[in-house]
């Protein structure tokens, strides 16, 4: 068998590893290609957690910028995608924490402005919207683990890496998050 025609197993994947290496060395072209090939799934992940375009866009932008800054210090370039996913999840959680603080402020404003115009007609809320609203009641960690499992279909090991928790606690956290969502769903249903 001629060596020149031997299969190059995993070439596409390894080319990506090369790009990570090059980007870690300051190569902006390589980084651009990494962003171009990976921003869609990261955006979907952020949007599922945060629920709107603007916040998802900000979270993904900040995550990639953090990745660019810290890339020279990434110790295992083959773990770039998992590392980036973790940064995106962390950005989303930070955004939700900030949002909670902002909400406290805006609630104060609403107490003054009692026009009621902010309230949506609940009759129009469909089943998916209802579940989405219930999902919005969850804190960032619970949202993230549900998204990683039910949307991304990540393995326990991947979820553990993204959430920075031990693999053994992933299933427990997942069941906790789901139970919390079920409770939130009941509460939302009661509000209808």
């Amino acid at each position: 068998m001629e060596p020149v025609v031997a299969a190059a197993p995993g070439t596409v994947l390894r080319a990506r590893a090369d790009l990570v290496d090059a980007a870690a060395g300051g190569d902006l072209h390589a980084f651009e290609q990494l962003v171009a090939s990976g921003s869609n799934p990261m955006y979907r992940l952020a949007r599922a957690i945060l629920g709107n375009d603007a916040d998802a866009r900000d979270a993904v932008q900040e995550a990639y910028l953090s990745a660019w800054r810290e890339l020279p210090r990434l110790r295992d370039h083959q773990r770039f995608d998992a590392w980036l996913r973790r940064i995106v999840v962390n950005e989303c959680r930070a955004d939700l924490r900030n949002r909670r603080r902002l909400r406290e402020i805006s609630l104060d404003v609403r107490e003054i402005d009692r026009s009621g115009s902010a309230t949506e007609p609940r009759d129009r809320v469909g089943e998916s919207d209802l579940l989405s609203r219930a999902f919005d009641r969850l804190e960032g960690g619970k949202r993230a683990i549900l998204v990683l499992h039910y949307l991304e279909h990540e393995s326990v090991a991947s979820i553990a890496a993204a959430m920075q928790i031990a693999p053994g606690t992933v299933k427990w956290r997942l069941s906790q998050a789901r139970a919390a969502l079920a409770r939130a769903l009941t509460a939302e249903g009661a509000r209808r």
């Binding site: 995993g10 210090r73 998204v147």
Partner: protein, 462 residues
């Protein structure tokens, strides 16, 4: 009175809701926005102290500090007793003048603006041209071992681990990190004999292949380029522009470059570029993940349907470029390799599958031990060899370790021989010149300290 609507939370409902929330695609200007901001952002430099930041507090840093102290004591003890073992950090052989192989200082700038582009660094008038490769007999003959395979460990310059290609009776190793060059390992001497490309470069070489006589580099310029490199002089003898969007995985087979799209998915096609004329000879409606030549055909594991994310087995007529799809639809496979009698072997998590390429039927399953273990495969034409890879948790993620190379009897589907190795982070396994070649960076928590090329010379009868 409000009516409470009972809703039972199901997986299906949850998945649908999350898919709705996730939306379809990112905004079209997201990439440009990120890159613009990155261009104005300085990267942090790597440092040992910085590495400590990645270690979780409460014990992790203390443990690392203790380990470093212990390491220092061991090193001091070795030095005192006069050991002549070369530390991994200084494995780089003296290829050229030290000033030319010194790595680029890290963290000095976000973008290396003063570095020459790859075209310049490959030009024949570089200041210290590498010596021409030593002449080797045409058949690259080395004396094969008798009985057991012969294992040789070849030290490579640190961080050289990107890609292997085979031409001119040499193994060529692409060292993409800091543009350290393409190193030539002489199959007769088992040493790095010269380097034909020296950095630093600011344009990465994405891939390296061979057409039998010359080397081909896939270069991420704009537009991208396929560059043919004369292995004896290191000169670029031909350059073929390729639109960046079409510059994905590349395979050099039968005088053509088979180039998949940049994202490795639809929308995209495979451009078949005639390496002689530089013209596109065909455009195939498939998105390949792997390609290889076997028994008169070109084969690929490729996406064939824009609406189906699972790849199929594809057979391509090398004359007419006609495509025949063998329905396959296995998503989580790696490292397909095919014997001369068309037995296809692929790796799935935890097992190697033997598949009849003509009938698309799984013939055998060879367990790899752990359910999440994987492997790299290569074939000599008649036999299949595998490097099983175990995934083990480390402080900041997961690491890979390989302990052996195993020979698989394709017909029986059983392991018939084991050759012990001990390597971390095996990157590639190839067969050429009667030997298995294993590219294995020494990694510790992801930092590459050195790279080995393992050569397993197989007895003549195999």
């Amino acid at each position: 009175m409000k009516q409470q609507i009972p809703m039972r939370l199901t997986d299906d409902m949850l998945e649908r809701m999350l898919a709705d929330r996730a939306g379809a695609e990112a905004p079209s200007d997201l990439v440009a926005g990120i890159v613009d901001r990155a261009s104005a952002t300085t990267q942090r430099s790597e440092s040992w102290l910085g590495a400590l930041e990645h270690i979780r507090p409460r014990g992790g840093r203390f443990a690392l500090a203790a380990a470093l102290l212990a390491l220092a004591l061991v090193a001091a003890a070795i030095a005192m007793v006069g050991s002549d073992r070369t530390p991994d950090l200084s494995v780089a052989p003296s290829l050229t003048a030290p000033s030319q192989i010194a790595p680029v200082p890290s963290g000095t700038s976000a973008v290396r603006t003063s570095s020459p582009r790859i075209d310049a660094s490959l030009s024949p008038d570089r200041s210290a041209p590498a010596a021409a490769p030593t002449a080797i007999s045409a058949d690259c003959a080395t004396t094969p071992p008798v009985g057991d395979p012969r294992l040789t460990t070849i030290d490579l310059p640190a961080k050289a681990y990107a890609r292997m290609a085979f031409a001119d009776c040499s193994v060529w190793i692409l060292n993409n990190q800091n543009g350290m060059g393409i190193h030539r390992v002489d199959v007769a001497s088992n040493k790095v004999e010269d380097t034909i490309l020296e950095g630093p470069i600011d344009t990465p070489v994405l891939d390296l292949g061979s057409d039998g006589d010359g080397l081909w580099a896939v270069v991420w310029t704009d537009p991208g380029q396929l560059q043919r490199i004369d292995p004896t002089s290191g000169d670029v003898t031909k350059s073929i522009p390729i639109p960046r969007a079409e510059l994905g995985g590349a395979w050099f087979i039968d005088g053509y470059a088979w180039i998949g799209p940049i994202r490795g998915r639809f929308p995209g096609t495979t451009a078949v570029v005639d390496l002689g004329t530089g013209q596109i000879a065909a455009t195939l409606p498939v998105v390949p993940r792997w390609m290889w030549r076997n028994a008169g055909s070109i084969w690929a594991v490729a996406l064939t349907d824009p609406d189906d994310p699972t790849p199929n087995l594809v057979r391509i007529d090398p004359i007419t470029f006609g495509v025949t799809i063998v329905p396959w639809s296995r998503n989580d496979i790696e490292s397909p390799t095919m014997t001369d009698d068309r037995r296809l072997f692929v790796v799935e998590p935890g097992q190697i599958l033997h598949v009849s390429a003509d009938q698309n039927a799984v013939v055998d399953r060879i367990p790899l031990g752990a359910p999440d273990a994987h492997a790299l495969l290569a074939t000599t034409g008649s036999d299949v060899w595998a490097v099983p890879i175990e995934t083990t948790p480390v402080t900041n993620g997961f690491g890979n370790r390989s302990r052996e190379v195993v020979q698989i009897n394709p017909a029986a589907g059983s392991i018939v021989q084991r050759v012990a190795i001990s390597e971390v982070g095996v990157m590639d396994l190839r067969y050429a010149y009667g030997s298995l070649w294993i590219l294995a960076p020494d990694k510790d928590y992801g930092r590459t300290f050195g790279t080995h090329l393992l050569r397993v010379e197989l007895p003549a009868q195999t």
